[in-house]
């Protein structure tokens, strides 16, 4: 029982984290029609910035805030200097150019921070276990991630659905030329959306940093997961991304936690313990393949609202 609740919360936490990453990706994809493989690099940069700034300032929170600002600025610089020129080009061009950016970021990190990973230690008040149900404790930091991510998701929802900028963003997703023709400064809007996406990726990276080690290439695996999520959810749909992210987070975590035991009932011990991790990693891709075969445009296609 305790294990089930704990793994369930872990799945929720991982799913919410994936949502932060997928939200930025789906916004950029839906609005600028840009396939940004370098989104995972922004996630990595968020983690590196946080580890560095936290070490400088000696405060976890201050480091996190500075890192958030730094990834926002980095995203804006990236958009203005390079990616802006790719809008309207073929998707293949996007893949190639942002693939180049991944190479660049990975190498730049190796040059600046060295090949060994960094650690981002947590402050004492975030390491205590918190009782959530009678007799069940859960790490405070993971709980904090869930709360922060839910808050951000709520803010994002309110921002996109209830503010003027959000209205422009939605308008941009459904018809780009038209809102340009109506006199909206679409260049500025694009830069803003990209910066927002970058900051969300950075937030995901810096929150994940204390749980995993901060290392080169950390963005690549999770980027593919984020792509899977936005494809399952339907490109451009934040609601779809949210549901798909929770779903994928749950499947991944619960699969990893419980598949080994399930497999052990049918297979021999050794075979089960090697097959289980591979199988649970595959589950997500299997899910995506099934979704795409049944609904080739994802579960919630953005333009059919």
């Amino acid at each position: 029982m305790l294990l089930v609740v704990e793994q369930f919360l872990n799945g929720l936490q991982f799913g919410l984290l994936l949502f932060l990453l997928a939200a930025g990706l789906t916004l950029v994809f839906g609005i600028m029609d840009l396939v940004n493989l370098a989104h995972g690099s922004l996630y990595m940069m968020g983690a590196y910035f946080a580890a560095t700034f936290a070490a400088w300032t000696g405060s976890f929170l201050l480091g996190a805030l500075l890192a958030l600002g730094a990834t926002l600025v980095l995203g804006i610089v990236l958009e203005v200097s390079a990616l802006r020129h790719l809008y309207g080009r073929d998707h293949l061009d996007h893949v190639l150019a942002t693939f180049g950016l991944i190479l660049f970021f990975n190498e730049a990190v190796r040059l600046i921070w060295g090949p060994a990973g960094l650690a981002l230690p947590l402050p004492a008040w975030l390491t205590v276990p918190v009782p959530i149900l009678p007799g069940i404790h859960y790490p405070a930091y993971r709980l904090a991630i869930i709360i922060v991510a839910l808050l951000v998701a709520l803010l994002l929802y309110l921002g996109v659905m209830r503010t003027r900028i959000g209205m422009l963003i939605r308008a941009g997703a459904s018809n780009r030329e038209m809102i340009g023709a109506l006199g909206i400064n679409i260049k500025l809007l694009y830069t803003l959306v990209f910066g927002l996406g970058a900051a969300l990726a950075g937030l995901a990276g810096l929150m994940q940093a204390p749980i995993l080690t901060v290392q080169i290439g950390m963005g690549e695996n999770i980027l593919i997961l984020a792509f899977v999520i936005i494809v399952i959810g339907g490109i451009g749909s934040i609601r779809g991304a949210f549901l798909a992210a929770i779903f994928v987070g749950m499947i991944d975590t619960l699969g990893r936690a419980f598949l080994p035991n399930l497999l052990r009932q049918v297979l021999s011990g050794a075979a089960a313990s090697t097959a289980a991790p591979a199988l649970s990693s595959m589950l997500i891709y299997l899910l995506m393949a099934i979704v795409l075969v049944v609904r080739p445009e994802g579960l919630f296609p953005a333009h059919r609202r």
Binding site: E220, I224, A289
Partner: protein, 314 residues
């Protein structure tokens, strides 16, 4: 007309260089360059196969590295089980790739555009994780191929020069095949589908069936590259199927010039030589390679072949 001749001249020069390379390696005593170029030729073969569906067929597969792994594992697993004959290993590698391509092609071709890119990626990642789970064949750590494929005296794969020429012959054979396919009625239908699927369907062509056949041919060709690659490195691991490897193949095709016969070969040669050259100058070669790719996309439309065409005209 003149533009055509510049790109033709460069292509001919490159092909002549590839044919004469073992001679240079022999005269200069530089063995390393032969090993390097064997790898280049094999990956050029893989890039050429990707170009068949991407450049001519308009199907953007982001999972092409899976066939490299399938071809490689077919050789590695059979060798592990004591089947050393290349006459068995290679047909099995090709058949396995063809079957995989048939299954994932049938499913993936239901989608289009970005969704097609993503679903082919998803299937390749699945293949990657399957290979990681094969405990009997090394799992994550990969599988060492202790003995290269044995062609019972016909050709010795452990001889560097013979192996190089085998790879080069395979490359030329595949390119000849692609040339014949592209200019056949079948190839014209596939290219027509790239330009306008609806119109082709209206004329009465079963679009998906044509695309699927093309997809399977391409996958089988890449499986051949995989079988050669396993022999070249004496090793196969899940890493050859990782999505960045598929990205590398795409880069080679686009860099060389999509939809041209020799573009992917040019792309593979330039990309891999550049990687080798930059990594000798600095440990941080990707720091230059990354922005270079970005610049190529921004300013170099049509890849190297397109550039050569423009030089000829300008």
């Amino acid at each position: 007309m003149k533009g055509l001749s510049v790109s033709k001249a460069v292509t001919a020069l490159m092909l002549a260089g590839l044919v004469l390379l073992p001679l240079y390696s022999y005269l200069s005593g530089n063995i390393f360059i032969l090993t390097l170029f064997t790898r280049i030729v094999i990956l050029a073969l893989a890039a050429a196969s990707l170009n068949l569906i991407m450049g001519f067929g308009g199907m953007m597969s982001f999972g092409h590295a899976a066939y490299l792994g399938i071809g490689g594992y077919a050789v590695g697993m059979l060798a592990q089980e004591g089947v050393g004959s290349g006459f068995i290993q290679f047909p099995v590698a090709l058949a396995a790739s063809a079957i995989y391509a048939l299954v994932i092609g049938a499913l993936s071709l239901r989608t289009r555009g970005v969704y097609f890119i993503m679903i082919t990626l998803a299937f390749a990642q699945m293949a990657y994780y399957v290979a990681s789970g094969l405990a009997r064949y090394g799992g994550d750590d990969g599988l060492t191929v202790y003995k290269r494929s044995d062609f019972s005296g016909l050709i010795n794969l452990s001889n560097r020069t013979q192996f190089y020429y085998l790879c080069l012959a395979c490359l030329f054979g595949v390119i000849f095949l692609i040339w014949r396919i592209v200019n056949s009625r079948f190839g014209l239908v596939v290219q027509g589908l790239r330009s306008n699927e609806q119109r082709m369907q209206a004329i009465g062509f079963p679009a998906k069936r044509y695309q699927l056949v093309c997809f399977v041919i391409s996958g089988t060709m890449c499986g051949l590259a995989g079988a050669l690659l396993a022999n070249n490195t004496d090793f196969v691991s899940p890493a050859v199927m990782y999505w960045t490897r598929s990205g590398d193949l795409m880069v080679m095709v686009i860099l060389g010039g999509m939809g041209t016969l020799f573009g992917p070969v040019m792309g593979a040669v330039v990309y891999l030589l550049l990687e080798e050259f930059l990594s000798q100058i600095t440990e941080y070669w990707a720091l230059i390679m990354g922005p270079l790719l970005l610049l190529i996309v921004l300013f170099g439309r049509g890849g190297i072949m397109g550039l050569l065409g423009r030089i000829g005209r300008g």
